[in-house]
């Protein structure tokens, strides 16, 4: 009896081993080198500033532009934001939406040369620091436990807020809290301070005792939401860039036209993000979406983007998220419009490229 059991478990062990092996062989092959191709995979996640992508897909705008350039674009919604960027970095997607900070610390620090094709918006109050107790000020955060998603834009926002108030991170205690649980956390007596983003921020602020003490409108332009494309893929396939940019600004013009169609478009985006039009409008109010390519071009070519990225890379280096072996914030090179750079010019992995936005602006797409 004992022998038979032994035998059986041996065989299951074998099967499991084989399964792991097959998965390993099949799943994690080396990414294919960039080459000219006609079909592309783009990942997106639910966020106020990225909902237009879903609308562009559903309404056929994206397909129209892809067809114009003779390519196919498959837009995939990933439920987990971090996972979408990890998949992009691993080479499963040609493009993905993300913030400027995550672009630096995930694909760029991971050696995947990436281009910010579209700067869609910046957070203008969408992220905030909230304390419990009406009338509280930012200074009151000293000594408190703060619930936030560590190493995220919330963490960055808090560090920027503290710097402005002459405090440091060691003046308080950060408790890493998942973004899905932050609202429930703030509802408990043990949590007295949170940093989060909308829509969670709206839910937190709706609680009777909540006091907003700092938000991203005080550091405008520092938290940007981007469409990021693999640079090698983009260079080999400029038509991908043209189709994405064309579709994006057509969607912008539809949703900001101030007519019934615009309302319908916004309502569709609201529904897809799990809220209603009023909720979505309140999120849009604190998100500075660039409605026209000219608007976006002015922002991305301004000096402030360089200053922001300098702050962001310093934060990332201080918190050890530029990776093992990063000896200074200079390890990842960042290139800006007009040839300006930050960091190692031999290791440029993050690029802001307004070429395609300029085309949209000049109407040459």
């Amino acid at each position: 009896m004992t022998m038979r059991r032994w035998n059986f478990s041996r065989r299951t062990g074998w099967r499991a081993g084989l399964a792991i092996l097959v998965l390993t062989l099949g799943g994690v092959g080396p990414a294919l080198a960039a080459a000219e191709k006609t079909s592309f995979n783009v990942a997106w996640t639910i966020y106020v500033g990225w909902m237009p992508w879903d609308y562009a897909d559903q309404s056929g705008i994206l397909k129209k532009w892809a067809t114009k350039y003779g390519i196919k674009i498959k837009l995939t919604q990933v439920n987990d934001y971090i996972e979408s960027m990890n998949q992009y970095t691993a080479g499963m997607f040609d493009a993905c939406v993300m913030t400027n900070m995550d672009m630096l610390t995930i694909p760029a620090a991971g050696g995947v040369d990436s281009t910010a094709l579209i700067v869609g918006d910046f957070s203008n109050g969408n992220d905030g620091v909230v304390l419990k107790g009406k009338g509280k000020k930012l200074e009151d955060i000293k000594g408190q436990k703060v619930n936030l998603v560590e190493l995220s834009v919330s963490h960055y926002l808090l560090v920027r807020a503290l710097a402005g108030a002459n405090m440091r991170e060691r003046d308080l205690k950060i408790v890493n809290t998942s973004d899905a649980d932050v609202v429930a956390a703030f509802a408990t007596p043990s949590s007295t301070a949170v940093v989060t983003w909308k829509p969670q921020l709206s839910a937190v602020l709706a609680m009777p005792d909540a006091q907003l003490v700092f938000d991203s409108s005080k550091i405008p332009g520092e938290i940007m939401d981007l469409m990021v494309v693999n640079t090698a893929t983009l260079n080999a396939n400029p038509k991908l860039g043209k189709a994405l940019v064309g579709a994006w600004y057509e969607t912008m013009s539809v949703m900001f036209k101030n007519d019934a169609a615009a309302k319908a478009a916004q309502a569709a985006m609201a529904k897809a993000s799990g809220t209603d039009l009023a909720g979505y409008t309140s999120q849009l109010a604190t998100t500075r979406l660039f409605a026209t390519p000219a608007d976006a071009y002015r922002f991305v070519t301004s000096e402030s983007v360089v200053k922001t990225m300098d702050l962001v890379r310093q934060f990332s280096f201080d918190h050890g998220i530029l990776g093992q072996g990063a000896s200074s914030a200079d390890v990842v090179g960042i290139q800006f419009p007009g040839g300006k750079t930050l960091g190692d010019t031999h290791n440029i992995k993050m690029r802001f490229d307004p070429t395609f936005t300029k085309m949209a602006m000049d109407g040459t797409l």
Binding site: A185, Q324, G325
Partner: protein, 270 residues
């Protein structure tokens, strides 16, 4: 010609056969890691063994600059503490309640269906309620594990108790044993090894709930670290942590198995 099912490997053969899948997985890893790194030296998905070794050294044997702690050991201690406290509570509570349900028909009628219902609630789905009731601290993490593990131990022990041959119970009664004596002298001794079996089986879910709990709100722990560094795809941290969790879980299982074999040799599994 002997049938395939009757051909058995010798000791040495068995040992090397059991190593084979591990070696194959390691080889596959090395091959693909090398291929990806050739293409992109900064690749984070499958880091080189040297990178992993350097990271392990940094986490286990160098003080963290920001906190002055040895992160690997702080994480391990925090997680083990949570796990052991939760498992002790689950085991003790599960033993007492399971035994009582198994022995007392009135209690069984009153409580058994409720425990069965509770054991079917996915604990992760009622997190906000847990937060309100027990807060966000250590208690919350331990509670999550207990809620996930204890009902299953209770049900298992109740069933094992009910399975005891009725001859034993009747015999003890004819010898004049009271309910209390019966529980302490007849039922309880036979339930100890069952409890260890139940604990071993629930180790897997206990670890699962521990990692989930640490992902929710914490400042240290093995699960906390994994979810934190996942934000920047630091597989050089995640892979050794996962391996370490496997080693810890395997060791705990082995210790429980040894304890059962040594302390309850009479109840050797068939």
């Amino acid at each position: 010609m002997r049938r395939l099912i009757n051909r058995r490997p010798g000791r040495g053969m068995a040992a090397s056969l059991s190593m084979l899948p591990f070696i194959l997985v390691v080889c596959a890893y090395l091959y693909y890691s090398h291929a990806r790194l050739l293409e992109n030296p900064g690749d984070k998905l499958l880091p080189a063994p040297t990178t992993i070794a350097a990271t392990v050294h940094r986490f286990a044997f160098e003080e963290d600059e920001r906190s002055g702690a040895y992160l690997f050991w702080t994480d391990t201690r925090a997680s083990l503490q949570r796990l052991l406290v939760a498992l002790s509570i689950s085991a003790l509570g599960g033993l007492c309640l399971g035994l009582a349900i198994g022995v007392l028909p009135y209690l069984r009628a009153a409580v058994a269906p409720f425990v069965a219902a509770v054991s079917l609630i996915p604990p992760l789905a009622i997190l906000p309620i847990l937060f309100i009731v027990v807060g966000l601290g250590e208690v919350a993490k331990v509670t999550l594990i207990v809620v996930g593990v204890a009902p299953i131990i209770v049900r298992d022990l109740a069933m094992r108790t009910a399975e005891l041959p009725s001859e034993q119970i009747i015999k003890a009664q004819t010898l004049g044993a009271s309910t209390w004596q019966l529980v302490i002298r007849v039922v309880l001794p036979q339930m100890w090894p069952r409890l260890i079996d139940a604990l071993r089986l629930s180790l897997g879910s206990a670890w699962l709930f521990l990692i989930a709990a640490e992902a929710i709100a914490s400042t240290e722990g093995l699960g906390y670290r994994i979810f934190l560094v996942r934000r920047y795809l630091a597989m050089d941290v995640i892979l050794p942590y996962v391996a370490w969790i496997t080693v810890l879980a395997f060791t705990m299982d082995w210790l429980l198995r040894m304890l059962r074999a040594k302390a309850f040799a009479w109840a050797a599994p068939q």
